[in-house]
């Protein structure tokens, strides 16, 4: 798929309710802009995010998926993000192994106080994904040659 100038990526952001969603709210109330390509889905905790959700997003045409949770040690449920960290580490490593560009997936820990970090993270992530162009490898790609 050729990258046209007007192309806009579709980006799904999973945010945990306690830290990152609040961080996104703070980015909003502080008017810290980031591209409208990012759409946030609220989950109770980063550990609620199933790899299936991420692959589903790619299957349905997402160009990038980012997961935000509380900083390690700050999880509202004490341990959720530690599990999420291991799961995503393995999943992302697998995607890399399959030749999917590693810029399309990301995990970032954003606290409720880090509106600036949320906005900066989204800006840099969108920029990265824009640079990579439309997601071909994980999209509806014809595997059969």
């Amino acid at each position: 798929m050729p990258v046209t100038e007007n192309w806009k990526p579709t980006i799904v952001a999973f945010c945990c309710n306690w830290c990152s969603y609040a961080g996104a709210d703070l980015a909003g109330s502080s008017r810290l802009a980031y591209p409208a390509d990012v759409k946030i889905i609220k989950v109770p905790c980063s550990c609620r995010v199933n790899p299936m959700f991420i692959l589903r997003a790619f299957e349905k045409g997402a160009d990038g998926v980012i997961l935000c949770g509380c900083h390690p040690g700050d999880c509202h449920y004490s341990t959720g993000n530690y599990y999420a960290r291991r799961r995503m580490t393995l999943l992302f490593s697998m995607l890399d192994y399959l030749g999917v560009e590693d810029g399309r997936t990301r995990v970032e820990w954003v606290s409720a106080a880090e509106g600036v970090k949320f906005s900066e993270t989204m800006n840099s992530f969108v920029e990265k994904v824009r640079g990579l162009g439309p997601n071909v490898r994980l999209g509806d790609l014809r595997c059969r040659n």
């Binding site: 969603y21 709210d25 759409k39 550990c47 509202h76 959720g80 599990y83």
Partner: protein, 662 residues
């Protein structure tokens, strides 16, 4: 098919100036199942809510999407509105088109497109929302306070006065904590014991307070309103009921080697001891590591002399189990270890001491009976240097990055007391900043300078060099004069950083309360909920949450007590209905989910299931919805998708993903 109503809020111009709300309404009506859509300037207002009520009635809505501000603002408002009008509150979803859209985008078309997508995702989710009902759980009307310092004592007294029973668990042989080690308190200079002891006595004699000293919390299970706690009562080897506190045992005990912890190890105590004269309870404990009888079987002198027959070498640890509705952590602090600060020669020279050690030296019950003397040779020091910020405000790996908050004031206090009592002793304070916010605090510090002639030098000390004549050469700097200073001193006092008590990590883990990188317990909200931990039913009192002086600690202790009283006053608590639930037909019974549950909410039972006509006994996961807090860790661990989270189900989230990516 659901009958869904979509309500788009203008939020004045907050949303409407950037998002074309009419367009969102128009697009909403094209969505499957949406039978009603409208916009309104302030959806959260009485009038706005009446629009929702009317639509529920007239269009028989069974699903609602409000496109408005963050759910953190008004989700509760709209859920209540739905409930009042006969709709299950969990059939309401919020599309956040303010914080996540209109406030961060400038281009109207772009923002509108995004708002439409967020609306669609919410509609897609609400299609799959199930009506949920919050459960109820009873409240055990008893509170536990961990830590018997001034914070714990004050919290316990306030709760007890309100009529609820409180247990204090203190790991030392007596309550009193750090404050009991202090000589005088700032900014009034009144004697610490004089104001603390009456509170200790009051706590001990209060009919609603039970004190467990020489005890530690061993295990915590349960949840807000219903905690079950195991408390280990360590063997005291002294029968609390028989002991009269006469003290003869301590006098006669032949083992006098152990370091006196209460005096910060500056002198020794006997193997059987009470930490200090005003100890509560006034019953000694035997230090098993030092007791000759317990180590070798020979001795038994204390038993011989005890007329009350209170000595009991056969005592063992005892575990008591108790139910509580609320738990307050008041575990306090200690000073940091100074082994990484070799440049200050602490440990090398006996005359380099910490401020807390100075506190004991100044105290009449301390190792020098209150006389200011050098520990090396017993001489009165004529030149004393105080060094501030030792280990505080350090971003290297040696110290703590935070300000310990109390040091500026207690150093001013020490300087003043010394100059007052020993006018021919000179006092120099090396400081980086003098921080004295607090009522009458700066005035206090200025008195030290102006009335007592304490020499404040702005600049940190690089090295303390013990000299062959027994003096200490302090290598400092005066930044205002731009001079290096070599100051010969007889004694150096280090304002050592404070850190949370070393047990706090263990306790936090038991309580699933979170702690920050410095081991301070995290509050639920730094400004609006400063005495609650994010874990429901766990409250914070005193320095365990962050550095504090005594007045602040007492204030927070009272605030924590009020929160506990507010909780215990309720008979029933509503529980979060967004809990995990296992599908018995999909569950493998593999136990992986229980492995990641932070609340121990998952158990397994073998029961007969009917799987499409096949009846068989299966091991099935069962979630205790009263324990489950709804994090969802189990749902991802479950390979078969049997474990799902109500309110955030797999299919709901997938529906949102699909709506966003379509």
């Amino acid at each position: 098919m659901r009958r869904i109503g979509v309500f788009v809020c203008h939020c004045g111009s907050n949303i409407a100036a950037t998002v074309d709300v009419k367009k969102v309404v128009e697009m909403a009506l094209l969505e499957q199942g949406v039978v009603h859509a409208e916009d309104y300037p302030y959806m959260c207002s009485e009038a706005g809510q009446s629009h929702i009520a009317e639509a529920i009635r007239e269009k028989q809505l069974d699903g609602i999407v409000v496109c408005s501000c963050s759910p953190r603002m008004h989700e509760a408002t709209f859920r209540k509105c739905a409930e009042k009008n006969g709709l299950n509150p969990y059939l309401v979803e919020i599309a956040n088109i303010r914080e996540h859209c209109s406030w961060i985008h400038k281009d109207m078309q772009e923002a509108t497109e995004k708002a439409v997508i967020l609306m669609r995702a919410a509609v897609a989710k609400v299609h799959l929302n199930a009506p949920l009902k919050a459960g109820e759980s009873a409240v055990t009307k008893r509170a536990l306070v961990i830590g018997g310092g001034i914070a714990g004592i004050q919290t316990a007294l306030d709760i007890a006065d309100a009529g609820y029973h409180v247990d204090i668990v203190e790991k030392e042989p007596s309550i009193g904590g750090r404050m009991s080690q202090l000589d005088k308190t700032f900014p009034t200079l009144d004697c610490s014991a004089c104001i603390l002891t009456p509170k200790m006595v009051e706590a001990a004699s209060h009919e609603n307070i039970t004190i467990h000293t020489w005890s530690e919390v061993e295990k915590v299970s349960g949840f807000v309103g219903n905690f079950t706690v195991d408390i280990r009562k360590k063997a005291r080897y002294v029968n609390m009921d028989k002991c009269t506190g006469c003290g003869i045992c301590q006098e006669k005990c032949p083992s006098k080697k152990p370091l006196n912890e209460f005096n910060r190890g500056l002198n020794n105590r006997s193997a059987i001891y009470t930490p200090f004269a005003q100890a509560i309870p006034n019953v000694p404990v035997i230090d098993a590591a030092a007791c000759i009888k317990l180590k070798t079987g020979k001795c038994g002198i204390c038993e011989k002399f005890c007329q009350a027959g209170a000595i009991d070498y056969a005592q063992t640890d005892e575990i008591i189990t108790q139910q509580y509705g609320a738990i307050v952590v008041a575990t306090g602090f200690d000073t940091i270890k100074l082994d990484k600060y070799g440049e200050y020669a602490y440990g090398e020279s006996k005359d380099v001491i910490t401020s807390l050690e100075l506190e004991r030296i100044m105290n009449a019950a301390g190792p020098t009976k209150g006389h200011l003397e050098r520990l090396s040779d017993g001489k009165a020091p004529k030149e004393i240097v105080f060094i501030q910020c030792v280990g505080s405000r350090c971003s290297d790996d040696r110290g703590k990055p935070y300000c310990s908050k109390i040091c500026c004031m207690y150093t001013a206090k020490h300087a003043m007391l010394i100059r007052d009592k020993y006018p021919d002793t000179n006092v120099t304070v090396f400081y980086i900043d003098v921080r004295t916010p607090g009522k009458n605090f700066d005035e206090f510090y200025r008195r030290a300078v102006e009335d007592y002639g304490v020499n404040y030098v702005k600049g940190q000390v690089g090295k303390v060099a013990p000299q062959s004549d027994g003096s200490l050469l302090v290598h400092g700097v005066d930044l205002l004069e731009n001079k290096q200073i070599l100051k010969k001193a007889d004694m150096v006092v280090l304002a050592t950083a404070i850190e949370p008590n070393s047990d706090v990590r263990k306790i936090a883990t038991m309580l699933t309360a979170s702690i920050d990188t410095n081991n301070f317990l995290t509050e639920a909200h730094p400004k609006l909920r400063p005495v609650e931990s994010p874990t429901a039913g766990v409250f914070l009192s005193g320095v365990c949450q962050g550095p504090k002086d005594i007045p602040e600690t007492v204030a927070q202790a009272g605030a924590a007590a009020v929160k506990v009283i507010g909780l215990l006053a309720k008979d029933k608590l509503k529980t979060n209905p967004c809990t995990a639930k296992a599908d018995e037909l999909r569950c493998n019974g593999c136990s992986q989910c229980a492995g990641v549950c932070p609340y121990g909410a998952i158990s397994y039972e073998t029961r007969q299931v009917n799987d499409h006509g096949i009846r068989e006994d299966r091991r099935i996961a069962v979630v205790n919805s009263a324990l489950c807090q709804g994090c969802g860790a189990c749902t991802v661990t479950c390979p078969s998708g049997a474990m799902d989270l109500q309110g955030f189900s797999n299919r709901q989230i997938i529906a949102e993903v699909d709506a966003i990516c379509r």
